[in-house]
């Protein structure tokens, strides 16, 4: 464990240096993700502004929710973007081989291979939205609330990572899984809206099968509508940890299969 903590900053700085060799490219990437989310939010803004509120959620609350959604998503995007390479035919290209010859956990190596600066675009926008909309929503801010949100953001980040790892690891069996991975990842878009606008079947999926709404929407609802924030924080932790356990299981099964089939 200590070894990994010592190695991590080393890998990170190496990766950032590599990316910054092409500064303009990094800038374009950051700008791309910033612009994408800004225009998607503009679409939402123009839509919701046409009505008084969406099932009791006015545009300020929706903006706050959108801003919060971007935080764990962008952190995961920055820290573990390399997982997408598994799904994108990386396993057939043999990207794992170089990890397997080193005496370091292959999953650790995969994750630290790249720091994706593009995600900073989303992170900036998330912070901007939170800064813009926090004064416009009515919340009683206490230290405990803030602490709960930080914990939620951390576990939600792990949740995004776990989802990516599960569906990226499918490639051990299917060679390529980026389409299904993208589709599942896109389910996170549901979490940007109040869950009660969806039909019962979709609500069930978003709560128990791909609990994106549990890790993003429910805590913010509890915060803005005066629910029990710590109870939802507990739900977030349960959802994230179980998803993480599933993902590690799928990953290690896949890796075993890879080791025995390859070389």
């Amino acid at each position: 464990m200590r070894k990994y903590l010592r190695l991590y900053p080393y890998y990170v700085s190496r990766s950032i240096k590599a990316r910054l060799a092409y500064r303009f490219d990094a800038f374009i990437g950051i700008l791309g993700f910033l612009l994408e989310n800004a225009l998607i939010f503009s679409t939402m803004y123009l839509t919701i502004s046409a009505i008084p509120s969406l099932n009791g959620w006015d545009i300020n609350m929706m903006g706050f929710l959108y801003g919060f959604y971007l935080i764990p998503k962008s952190l995961d995007h920055i820290l573990s973007d390399q997982v997408w390479q598994l799904a994108n035919g990386g396993i057939t290209r043999g990207i794992l081989d170089k990890y397997l010859v080193k005496p370091i956990n292959p999953l650790f190596q995969l994750v630290v291979e790249m720091i994706q600066l593009e995600g900073i675009g989303e992170l900036i926008l998330g912070i901007v939205f939170l800064a813009l909309f926090t004064p416009l929503v009515t919340v009683e801010w206490t230290l405990m609330n803030v602490l709960a949100l930080v914990i939620v953001a951390f576990f939600a980040m792990l949740f995004f990572f776990a989802i990516k790892l599960i569906f990226g690891s499918l490639s051990f069996w299917t060679k390529r899984s980026i389409e299904v991975m993208t589709m599942i990842y896109d389910f996170s878009n549901f979490a940007k809206y109040p869950i009660d606008i969806f039909t019962r079947a979709i609500r069930f999926v978003l709560t128990y099968i791909l609990p994106f709404s549990v890790v993003i929407f429910l805590p913010i609802e509890a915060l803005l509508k005066g629910g029990n924030l710590w109870l939802t924080t507990l739900y977030v932790m349960i959802a994230s940890v179980s998803m993480l356990m599933v993902s590690l299981f799928v990953w290690s099964r896949g890796l075993k299969r890879y080791e025995s089939a390859g070389s």
Binding site: A50, V180, T182
Partner: protein, 274 residues
């Protein structure tokens, strides 16, 4: 002689079609992704209209809106199926562009031809099945009538023109990759700008007035919003004619721009590559 001139481009279209078919399973995968966003759209707009104090929002009823958004989503797949952005991007990245210059073919038209192949394979694999399913589902679930034949045909003409406009934009933006290797980032910027301003995400009646005033002088609305309005029968025949003429004007303007900028780029390639 004249036939020969077009024939050499036809080969590239054929290759484009085959390319499209090679990735048919991917296409199916992306189709599922589209489905997720269509489901979100449907429930979101249902809730929006339930929460609205009036029956119409910005002049559109719930049925109008759903028909618009679903047809826009389905048609966007076809209209944005151009491959020129990636083709020019990779040619610049890998240095193939220098080889392309010695071929006795106009590079811009070659890319357009191979994009057109992609257009046809997308039409067959994705657009036609999705379009038919959409019409049937919209009819059965919301009682939205079938489009009139005349509107459908004019819509198709308009879509082809839209496609050429989008392809030219892709080509122009793809040329930027001579300054940066960040093709993925450029693609994201391009896609979101085209989707948002073309009305693919939201009809322009929702935009603020100042934005619409600016957009009137830009090619974006000719890309998605106008063809869909033709299909839904919301334009008079005079307006349709006007729309097609404006589209044609953009095809010409952008085509000139493409050739002009590519000639400039060629000099740049020669000076750095030799």
């Amino acid at each position: 002689m004249k036939i020969n001139k077009y024939k050499k481009y036809l080969a590239f279209s054929k290759a484009g079609i085959l390319d499209g078919f090679a990735y048919k399973f991917s296409a199916l995968g992306w189709l599922l992704g589209d489905l997720v966003s269509i489901i979100i759209l449907f429930y979101l707009w249902q809730a929006i209209y339930q929460n609205s104090p009036t029956e119409t929002i910005n002049g559109m009823t719930f049925k109008d809106m759903i028909a618009y958004l679903i047809f826009a989503r389905v048609s966007t797949t076809l209209i944005f199926s151009s491959s020129s952005f990636w083709n020019i991007g990779f040619d610049i990245y890998e240095g193939n562009i220098a080889i392309s210059l010695i071929r006795p073919i106009n590079y811009r038209y070659r890319l357009l031809a191979s994009s057109f192949g992609n257009f046809l394979s997308t039409a067959i694999l994705m657009f036609i099945p999705l379009f038919i399913v959409s019409i049937v589902i919209l009819n059965l679930s919301l009682g939205i009538g079938f489009p009139e034949l005349a509107h459908l045909l004019l819509f198709l003409v308009s879509v082809v023109l839209s496609f050429v406009i989008v392809d030219s934009m892709n080509f122009l933006i793809g040329e930027i990759s001579i300054f940066t290797n960040a093709l993925f980032g450029l693609m994201i910027i391009k896609n979101i700008i085209l989707s948002f301003f073309s009305g693919s995400l939201l009809p322009s009646s929702f935009f603020p007035d100042w934005l619409n005033a600016v957009l009137r002088f830009l090619p974006f609305q000719s890309m998605v919003e106008k063809p869909i309005m033709i299909l839904l029968g919301r334009l008079e025949y005079m307006d349709i004619l006007m729309t097609l003429l404006i589209q044609l004007m953009w095809v010409v303007i952008l085509s000139v721009l493409c050739n002009f900028s590519f000639n400039r780029l060629k000099k740049h390639v020669v000076s750095v590559g030799g």
